[in-house]
């Protein structure tokens, strides 16, 4: 824990102040909500208090705020907790944001009005401390003692981080780089950077810092200790960049020794959920069995979230409906998760598509009705013609075929999905012919070009209208009329 930023000291309320730049620091959290705010009406399966107790650091506020903005049911509770959380810290921007949100959700609450005395107090003390720390740092710089300068920068960075000026915090942390003397210092500095970038939503930055962490020349035992955290952060960054397969690999490699050491960013439960979903979305059945269910390390994470384990097991046993049902039941929870919210639709679509693909593997033809019973049960109940052309399920199949994901054709007359039988021999022949003629054409073009150069017949034309070549072309076109007629 000592290599981590102790960024969130449960600070004494009211020290210094942060001036006008509170607008900029809100960026990341708003990013996670954009472009259009997600709204959830169903109750989640978790208990808010115990859920948030799993986390430490600024992520607590961010998560509460997200839940408050997303869930209609929990809005008031979550925002109240968020306000308490913000008041425990020194980030005025956070506090104001939470109060604004609460005032929108439930204007009657007493917390919905701004505590301007507290705000001014905190702002003043934050400003004073910023000045004091900057001043101290200047002093250290004059003395040219590396260690002091490093610590001065670190203190400044921690201060900015606590008060929500993430840009300044990352700048202060990166200034530490030149004054780090031991690999340990470097690792601790990089972890702080990772935290700041993660909160800013700059996942590219997270990724590059994680790579630096991996390549840092720490002692093997230190590296061993940091490894789970590095992998977890890497997985998160990969998930956010949309490469679910890489993310799954990273999450699956996280050692259970992570336990509670990285709670300011990710808990073991999160690892299980993120890793499980990413794997479901990107791996086939064999890989899921071998790399996920049979993995001795990841098994320990999965035990924390048994429903994910069940969903994966169902998928591996080709029971797609129960698998999709479980995921559907937990959709609310995942939509309320800070990191997962943006990716739930993509992940779910991928899992669904993959299920349809896997479902079709053993069949050469299958009735649309039996497929609809598994993949679109609500449609079967509600519509007159569940497998007609205009039903959403058939339209979904059509779009999958168009994208080339499914290699099948729909027989609407008999209500069948027929797999296209391709003849490998014909396919190879067609490919060979195609590449041969493409090569021939290009080779010919290039030979002609070279020959034309050599003979000095390069085009010297101009494009003035009425010139000779245009008339020639016109004349050529004249023959064309005959050709068509």
């Amino acid at each position: 824990m000592d290599t981590l930023p102790d960024a969130f000291a449960p600070a004494q309320a009211g020290s210094s102040s942060m001036p006008a730049n509170s607008g900029a620091k809100l960026g990341p959290v708003e990013n996670t909500n954009s472009p259009k705010p997600v709204k959830v009406d169903d109750p989640p399966k978790f208990d808010l208090e115990s859920y948030i107790a799993n986390y430490t650091g600024r992520t607590r506020f961010n998560r509460l705020y997200l839940i408050g903005n997303t869930s209609t049911l929990l809005a008031v509770d979550a925002l109240k907790l968020a306000i308490t959380e913000a008041k425990n810290g020194r980030d005025v921007g956070q506090y104001e944001k939470a109060v604004r949100a609460l005032a929108e959700a439930s204007p009657g609450e007493k917390e919905a009005s701004l505590d301007s005395v507290w705000v001014q107090d905190v702002q003043r003390s934050v400003r004073a401390q910023s000045e004091r720390l900057e001043h101290e740092l200047r002093g250290y710089k004059n003395n040219l003692i590396k260690e002091s300068i490093r610590m001065g920068n670190e203190d400044l960075g921690n201060h900015y981080y606590e008060t929500g000026d993430l840009l300044a915090a990352s700048k202060a942390y990166s200034r530490m780089r030149d004054y780090c003397t031991t690999p340990n210092h470097i690792a601790s500095m990089l972890f702080k950077m990772v935290n700041v970038y993660a909160e800013r939503g700059d996942w590219m930055g997270v990724q590059s810092n994680v790579h630096r962490l991996r390549n840092s020349q720490s002692k093997p035992e230190d590296l061993q200790k940091n490894q789970p955290k590095i992998l977890a952060a890497l997985g998160l960054a990969q998930m956010h960049s949309g490469s679910f397969r890489d993310a799954a690999t990273s999450f699956l490699a996280v050692d259970p020794s992570l336990s509670d050491t990285f709670n300011e960013m990710i808990t073991p439960n999160d690892i299980a959920v993120y890793g499980g979903l990413c794997a479901l979305a990107s791996m086939d059945r064999n890989e899921l069995q071998k790399l996920v269910l049979d993995s001795p390390t990841f098994r320990q994470f999965l035990e924390l979230e048994p429903h994910i384990r069940r969903a994966i097991a169902f998928f591996c046993n080709s029971k797609y409906r129960p698998c999709l049902d479980i995921l559907e039941n937990y959709r609310t929870d995942y939509l309320l998760d800070l990191n997962l919210q943006r990716h739930v639709p993509a992940l779910y679509t991928k899992i669904r598509t993959k299920s349809i693909q896997q479902y079709l593997v053993p069949f050469s033809r299958v009735t649309l009705d039996s497929m609809a019973a598994i993949f679109a049960p609500d449609v079967v109940g509600g519509e007159a013609r569940p497998t007609g052309l205009n039903s959403p399920f058939v339209q979904e199949l059509i779009s999958l075929i168009k994208e080339g994901i499914l290699d099948t054709r729909i027989d609407l007359e008999r209500g069948l999905l027929v797999s296209s039988q391709t003849d490998p021999r014909t396919e190879v022949q067609a490919k060979t012919l195609d590449s041969l003629s493409t090569f021939n054409k290009e080779a010919h073009t290039r030979i002609i070009r070279a020959a034309v150069f050599h003979a000095g017949l390069e085009v010297q034309g101009d494009i003035e209208p009425g010139s000779r070549e245009q008339m020639g072309a016109r004349k050529g076109g004249g023959y064309r009329r005959g050709v068509v007629g």
Partner: protein, 499 residues
């Protein structure tokens, strides 16, 4: 008459040398040509200038030179006396026409290499004669055979090529042009200092490529300009279009589009680009990717000039019949001005075929009424859509069956058989033929590459490059171009140096 006998015996003497060594044969032919030319200028041959029957003493297969010189002399005499470019005797009904045709059909392809100028002029005269009586068809076939007789590989571009495709377009005998068009052209006789080869080979010898004897000096081709080869490929592309050989047509047009340029581009190239866009739509159902050999700045010019065509392509790719119609109607004047109206109407017709091919990938069976809701490219009216589909099936562009059911007359079903149902053996044979064909083309191209490699290797640019390479201290790899295994990279490199 004594002179005729002398001529005949001289010609016969030549025959004896034909079997001997190339050098001796070469010397004899050159001597004969020189003496005939001499007697032409001395006017000692004038006794034969007016009597076509004289020619009967000679056999084009054996006495190609004497026959040709006498024939030219007679034509020239007629031209001078009648003050016409094409004397009436040379017209298809005239007395000289059968003589000329007889010659063109049976000349000795080795001997005419020495009298290239006269040979080419004869071909041109015959072509003009046929055209002047509006019967170009009379000349197309014999000229084609003459070209193939002179150079079976037809890999050297000559002015006759251009003359020939023009004639074919006039005659509308497109199929007749295929034997020539299908040969891949790999060489151009150079008329600039750069292109002229310094050495003079033994003309009558066997050569690996016809580029050895069809040179600027041989006279077998009139001096070429940069417009000629562009026109040839454009016209060739148009012939392929007329035959609906879209793939070959687009290759020819691509050749025109990627002609190297010294700066400005020509309208011929733009014309080719416009047609290429339309051909791509008809053949592939979409705008094809532009060939890599076109420079980006040139491509930009094309795109800015051919904007309406690109709009049309966009509407086509969306598969929306109404939008396509709107685009076509909006620019009718442009299609007319470019003489592309016919192609545009074919583009429109091909839309539903391409749409149906797309539907075929998704559905195995579907009713027509469902289909017309699904595909924007079919008419809204179910009956109209049905007849459209029926005509497509009949034309063979889509393999499918329409099924009327007695209970629901309004619900006609369309059923696509799976591809494997096609007859296997016939397909197999087809593929084999195609593969062999492409293989032959490849072999011809390899010959072209070898020759080009050699020529470029001996060119001053390459020598300069070598000298530079030596200066850089890397002389070793510079010789690689002369080796067997060099591909096209080096060609490109040298082209890069010149552009």
């Amino acid at each position: 008459m004594a002179s005729i006998r002398a001529l005949v015996s001289r010609s016969a003497k030549l025959q004896q040398f034909a079997e001997r060594s190339d050098e001796k044969y070469d010397g004899q032919i050159q001597e004969l040509v020189a003496s005939l030319r001499q007697s032409l200028s001395d006017q000692t041959l004038n006794f034969a200038a007016n009597d076509p029957a004289v020619l009967d003493n000679f056999d084009p297969a054996a006495d190609a030179i004497t026959y040709l010189i006498l024939l030219r002399l007679q034509i020239q005499t007629l031209q001078e006396s009648s003050q016409q470019k094409i004397p009436t005797a040379l017209l298809p009904s005239g007395t000289l026409w059968p003589k000329a045709v007889h010659y063109i059909k049976g000349f000795n392809p080795v001997q005419v290499r020495y009298v290239g100028n006269e040979w080419r002029q004869l071909i041109e005269l015959v072509a003009h004669a046929a055209q002047s009586v509006s019967q170009p068809l009379l000349a197309t076939k014999i000229i084609r055979d003459a070209m193939l007789r002179l150079d079976p590989s037809c890999s050297v571009f000559t002015s006759t090529h251009l003359l020939f495709v023009r004639l074919c377009l006039h005659a509308k005998s497109y199929g007749c042009a295929l034997p020539i068009l299908d040969k891949y052209i790999c060489h151009f006789p150079g008329f600039t200092e750069r292109g002229l080869s310094k050495s003079s080979p033994v003309l009558c010898a066997r050569h690996e490529t016809s580029a050895a004897f069809i040179t600027a000096r041989s006279g077998l081709s009139a001096p070429l300009t940069w417009r000629d080869q562009s026109r040839y490929f454009l016209y060739g592309g148009m012939i392929y279009m007329a035959l609906k050989e879209w793939n070959k047509a687009s290759h020819f047009l691509e050749l025109v589009m990627s002609m190297p340029s010294l700066g400005p581009i020509s309208m011929i190239m733009v014309e080719a680009y416009k047609k290429w866009v339309l051909v791509g739509l008809i053949e592939a159902g979409k705008l094809r990717p532009t060939p890599k050999t076109i420079a980006p700045n040139v491509l930009k010019i094309y795109q800015s000039i051919a904007r309406p065509y690109l709009n049309l392509a966009q509407a086509f790719e969306l598969g929306d019949l109404k939008r396509l119609n709107a685009e076509i109607d909006a620019a009718v004047q442009i299609w007319r001005d470019d003489n592309n109206m016919g192609l545009v109407s074919q583009v429109k017709d091909s839309l539903s075929a391409h749409a149906l091919a797309g539907i075929k990938k998704i559905f195995a069976a579907i009713t027509v009424s469902e289909l017309s809701g699904q595909a924007l490219s079919l008419p809204d009216n179910v009956e109209a859509a049905e007849s459209e589909i029926a005509s497509l099936i009949m034309s063979g562009s889509v393999s499918a069956t329409l099924v009327h059911s007695p209970d629901h007359p309004e619900a006609t079903r369309l059923r696509f058989p799976s591809d494997s149902a096609l007859s296997r053996s016939s397909q197999e044979l087809q593929v084999q033929n195609k593969l062999e064909n492409e293989g032959r083309i490849l072999e011809a191209l390899i010959e072209g590459v070898k020759k080009r490699n050699q020529v470029l290797g001996l060119g001053p640019e390459y020598i300069d490059h070598l000298r530079m390479a030596q200066n850089w201290g890397a002389s070793g790899d510079g010789f690689a171009i002369m080796g067997e295994d060099t591909g096209l990279e080096m060609d490109e490199d040298i082209m890069g140096d010149q552009t």
